[in-house]
Every structure is written in C-alpha cells, then in structure tokens.
Symmetry: C3
Subunit: 177 residues, 3 copies
C-alpha cells in the first residue's frame, strides 16, 4: 500500500499563539487514521489567520511536500480575520464547489448557522485541498459526508491510491470512466 | 437594546420610475419589524437596475450609514438588466455562498424556476448584504430560511446585538466559538 | 412554433480523436427531441478538452449561430484536462449557480462522487449554456432536474419560445413577473 501524504493546516490566531490546544488539527489526523489503512505521513502546520501565511503553507504542502490531500481547519466564517477560503482560492487551479455545498447542507441539519461557513475545496498542483470548519464536532460530520468521494478524486488528479477501512467509511470509485 | 440600522435596496426599473408601488421593499421592512424587538432605523433606497447605482447605494449604506444588515430585492434573475448579484460581489470583501444555496433550495420546494435566481450574500465593511428575489411571497420564504443565522453573523462582524421575537423567528447563537 | 437552435458541445479528447463514439452528445440530442415539440436545429461540435477550443466553440454557437441553448458534456471533473467549467465561465456574462447546485444534489442520490462534478451554467450573449457531466446516464438525470426552468430562462434572455411535450417534461413559467 502507498504511503499517503496528508497536510493538516490549522488556521487559528489563538492556537498558533499557544493560547489553547489545537484540538481540531488532532481531530483531523485521528479521523484520517480511522478512515485509511495506508501508512500515513502527516505534514502539520498551525498558523495565524493571515491570508499570506495560509497561502504559503498550502503551496509548500502541495508543491514541495507532495501531499495528496490537504485539510484545513478554521478561518471559514464571516469575521474579518477569517480568510482560509480566500487563501485556498488564491492557490488553487480548480475550484470544487460541490464539497462546500454538501458540507453546509450536512451541518444545516445540526445548526442554522451552517450557512455562515464559507468552506470550499479545490485542486492545487496535485493536491486536493478541503476546508473544514474550526469546531471538532463539525469536522467529523463534514469529513464523513465528503470523504467517500476523496479517494477517487485523488486518483483523478494523479495521487496515491487510498485504501479505506470499510467498517469506518466506504470510498466510492465508479466502475468505468 | 441597540437600535439596529437596516438598509433596504429595491432594484427595479419600474418601481424606481413610479410605474408601480414597491411592495417588495415594504415586505422586507414589515418582516424586519416582525422579527426584531430592537428599535429599527431603516435606510430605504429604490433605484433602477443599474450596476453602478446599486453599488453606490450599497457602499453608502455600509460605509456612511453604518447599516448592520442590508437587504436587496430584485435584479437576481438571468435577464440582461438583472445585475444585483454582480453589484453585491463588486462591493463585498467576503462572499457567503451558503445564503444563496439555502434560499434557492427553499424556493425549489415551491417553483422549479428557483434555480434561475442568482441571489447571494456577502460582507461589505461591517454590513451583511443579502440579496432577495423580487417577489413579495418569495421574500418571506427566503428570509424565514436564512434569518436564524443573521444575528450571530452580525455579532461576528462587529455589528449591533439583535434580539429576535422568538414567537416569530428564533436566532441561533452557538454557546462557544 | 419557433425553430429552436440548440448547440451541443462534447468536450472529450478521446471522442474527438475518434477513439470512441460520442454517445453523450447523442444522448443530449435525443433528450431534446423528446422534451420539445418545436422543430429543432442542432449545432453539434465534438472537440478536445482544450479551454481555448471550448471557448471558441461556445462563442461561435452563441454569437454566430444564435443558439437559444447550448449544452456541453464532459470536462467537468477534477482532472488536469477537465476545463469545461472554466471555459464556460470565461465566455459568460452572468453565472447561474443554481443549475450546478441542483444537478450535483440530484446526482448525489446515485453516487457520492457527484460532488466532484464542477458543472455550472451561465448566460453568454443570448444563449443559456449548461454544463452536463460526461456519462450518458447522468446526463438524463441532470436534464430532468433542471429543464423545467429552462424555457422560462430562455424567455427572460430574449430567446425563442420553447414548447415542451408535457407527457415527458413540464416547463414552468410563473404567471406574472
């Protein structure tokens, strides 16, 4: 089985300043360990909510570290310092609006404020970047909704072959193109 | 309770020329009066479907009048003179795609032509701008769907504290960030 | 009854090279014949997945051939050569996000990879352009979902009057604006 490289980017002024623990970044890594049977190599970055720093981290993970998947958490709301979707759009060659639509729809089942999340997804070089909200609980809900499409997406962009633990999550790969 | 400043912008060639009454703008103001217990100060503009005029009105309401919320009606369709979403996007620093998605989804329960509405939302300075369709009936349907998220959104962008009449609509504010 | 001009653009490296038959383009034309009672004039183009060629084809069909509706198939995925949505956005004066949202939602009932489709719609000159996925089965599912709004959309942009076979699909036209 291929070793999968996964970038995890926490955008948070407070977590990056050590004011509190980055539970969200950890939640993403634990979820990936639960989903995937491949050996995993994480590239973890915890940075302030600055568009330039987020762009730099995303590009480093995509172009230098060769991540197949980059998952961000935080910075997707309407507040002035929420700039993760803008950073994502700035570095991506292709946007994938279906991810944000589905994640908002799923979160709407729990809270009406789900529409305030501006999370999106896109392709940067050979990496799929997915924005997740900042709250650990929402992270798992969102990933459960979109992850079944992730391994096939990564096949299509020339990434490594993901093998899911089917007792946890089922990847879907259409039989023929 | 804070006085809430609400901008209401009707984009309509015919209403602005006095050819017919602007029922839609009035419907928005009545809905706001029903939703909110705060004293309200309305800034009302009825203007033709010109992108430049709409942008000017939105900027005046956001930067000079200090509106917490600006609601537009009209100009969201596919016709050549429907330019409200373009004007909104031009003046906003952040777009909020979840609003348009949810409003179209709700309207789809009534009419299949709901997908023709290009309505969106975004943040301009410290104002939340929401586009609504032109028809009074759709206005209430759309506002009922998205308004529960509006007070918290306005908290996050530094606006005044909205208090809803909970017998009419329930605002949702997450317990902790 | 007006003769309706419909552009059909298949974006496919393999179909355009004659490696396989373009079943998708044919499926679109058959669906249009089934939906519409008007006489139809098809303008059919089968071209490689090159953004520039797709843009040129879309513009020719909109500006020179005067198509009321242009339907594309293929090139909506995340792969490097999938560029149909980018070409569509480049030639359109207005984007119609509701089409892509609804088509993805409908396809999600069948496959979780529906979120990988980046299909959109927009107005170019006096033509409505709709992107469809490449697979014949998905084409009909998507068209069945959005077509009820198409005739009214084309009325609004000044196109010819479509008459549907109501035993197959029902167009919806609101009573009054």
């Amino acid at each position: 089985m291929d070793e999968i490289r996964i970038g995890v980017v926490t955008a948070s002024d407070r977590a990056s300043a050590g004011i509190y623990d980055d539970i969200s970044g950890k939640a993403i890594m634990e979820t990936m360990e639960a989903y995937l049977q491949n050996p995993l190599c994480f590239e973890y970055r915890c940075i302030p909510d600055e568009q330039e720093s987020i762009e730099r981290a995303l590009k480093e993970l995509a172009y230098e570290k060769g991540c197949d998947l980059i998952v961000t958490t935080g910075g997707t709301g309407p507040a002035p310092r929420d700039v993760t979707p803008e950073a994502t759009e700035a570095v991506c060659q292709k946007m994938m609006p279906g991810f944000g639509e589905l994640m908002r729809q799923v979160s709407l089942q729990y809270v009406p404020t789900a529409i305030l999340s501006r999370q999106t997804a896109g392709i940067c070089h050979k990496s799929l970047i997915i924005n997740l909200p900042g709250k650990p609980k929402s992270i798992r809900e969102c990933l459960d909704a979109v992850f079944p499409a992730v391994p096939y997406c990564i096949d299509l962009i020339g990434g490594r072959y993901m093998v899911c633990d089917e007792t946890v999550i089922r990847a879907f790969r259409p039989k023929s193109k």
